[in-house]
């Protein structure tokens, strides 16, 4: 079923739709290239007391069991969480698959299956990556708090603030997750008929508020995690010295 005027619709100027997807292509593309390079680099991830978020938790750092970069052991978790995230799905379906490139902009004809078949049916495991993300957040909070300890004394460096802001943005990104919102309250039909209904309703409302800003948290946390790693790398490699504030 379709309009009898496809050529008429195709002739309408669709505007500069590429300006909507160009920032996504640049942002996600640049991050992917940088993260891949850093994951394989396997060096400059530790500058006491800072640990790069790309390498946290630090596993088999002395290569007893794993001969490659330790980041490769763990990055599947955060990568899976972001790749199956409802916001990023919108972003990359539009920007990289042109599916569609923008609203009401024609796309190429082909056998479209959406998320009904492999590989995109795997998007349905998002909640499992969300569970995994909790583990990562615990380690990242530990790293951020550990960044206040300089040779057994309390201190604050610029890196401390970088790691702290990063983990806070990651926590906001996690807390605004659609799956979390569903599991903690959205799945209920009747809050008042359930045990702890008031608490779950309040939680759901709070998460819904955060959820409205999920895109913002997705981007800011993506940049913050890249910048945090970059800062640790600069300090670790000796390119700069950490600025000690306290």
């Amino acid at each position: 079923m379709a309009s009898t005027s496809p050529t008429v619709h195709a002739a309408v100027p669709t505007g500069s739709w590429w300006t909507q997807i160009a920032p996504v292509v640049l942002g996600l593309g640049a991050f992917s290239v940088y993260a891949t390079w850093r994951a394989f680099e396997g060096a400059y991830f530790w500058a006491s007391p800072y640990l790069s978020p790309f390498y946290s938790p630090l596993l088999d750092v002395h290569h007893h069991y794993w001969p490659y970069s330790p980041a490769l052991l763990i990055l599947g978790g955060p990568l899976g969480f972001r790749a199956t995230c409802y916001y990023y799905r919108k972003a990359y379906y539009r920007a990289f698959f042109l599916d569609p490139p923008a609203c009401a902009v024609a796309e190429r004809k082909r056998n479209y299956c959406g998320e009904t078949r492999f590989p995109f049916i795997l998007q349905n495991v998002h909640r499992y990556f969300m569970y995994l993300a909790i583990v990562f957040l615990v380690f990242l909070w530990h790293d951020a708090l550990h960044a206040f300890v300089f040779a057994d004394r309390f201190g604050v460096g610029l890196g401390t603030l970088v790691l702290l802001v990063n983990v806070m943005l990651l926590t906001l990104y996690f807390s605004s997750c659609h799956s979390l919102r569903h599991l903690l309250g959205g799945k209920l039909d009747c809050f008042s008929c359930t045990n702890f209904g008031n608490a779950r309703h309040s939680t759901w409302r709070g998460l819904s508020f955060l959820n409205e800003h999920h895109m913002l948290f997705a981007w800011t946390s993506l940049f913050s995690v890249g910048l945090a790693d970059f800062y640790v790398r600069l300090v670790s490699s000796g390119a700069i010295r950490d600025l000690r504030l306290l």
Partner: protein, 248 residues
Amino acid sequence: MPEVTLKIFRGDREGGQTADYQVPVSPGMVVLDALHYVQKHLAPDLAVRWNCKAGRCGSCSAEVNGRPRLTCKTRMDSLPGDRPVTILPMKSFPVIKDLVTDVSWNYKVNKKIPGFKPRPKTEWKMRQEDVDRVQEFRKCIECFLCQNVCHVLRDHGKHEQFGGPRFFVRVAALEMHPLDGISRAALLKNELGLGFCNITKCCTEVCPEEIHITDNAIIPMKERVVDEFYDPVLKLVRRIRGEKSARE
């Protein structure tokens, strides 16, 4: 008074093309006013569906400069005045004549959805906190702009396998109803093809009632389908508790 050129689709099921009309633009004028001007002065046989002219009935949906909109809520001064304004019928539905499309397919989809069915021994009391979510969905005026812009229907023509955003909103309203007693998760997955939606949010962008279709209806419904069909842990929990799934 400044004039603008309207390029309006003229044709029927057999085909057609745009025709140009010069229309004087007055302050506060909306696209539907301009179409009425054309009907009154230039082309009395121009077919336009409309009713309330107040953004409440959802009848005057069309594509203005390539964007699905209600013509009664699109002000002429919001459009570039130095270029012709193109007005086409909704692409996802067959044209009957000019700007009028046959949207009856939507009513066929609607019939697939089981209506409200209360739980056994329902106490007919509802608290506001339990119906807040549903009330957002009740704002829908069935303009079908979301159906029109959805690329699954618009570009891929999956009308046989896919229900479209409007009906995901309707199912969400029923599923989240505090007194409703049946699950429509299997319907969403199998009959309405929720998996075809790749959540690109165009439905939300064009909704004149500003319903958060994707975030508040489609994604929660996708999560309920995951609960039923793709989450082995929940499946196990249901089995241990002796609960039935939507498939049974």
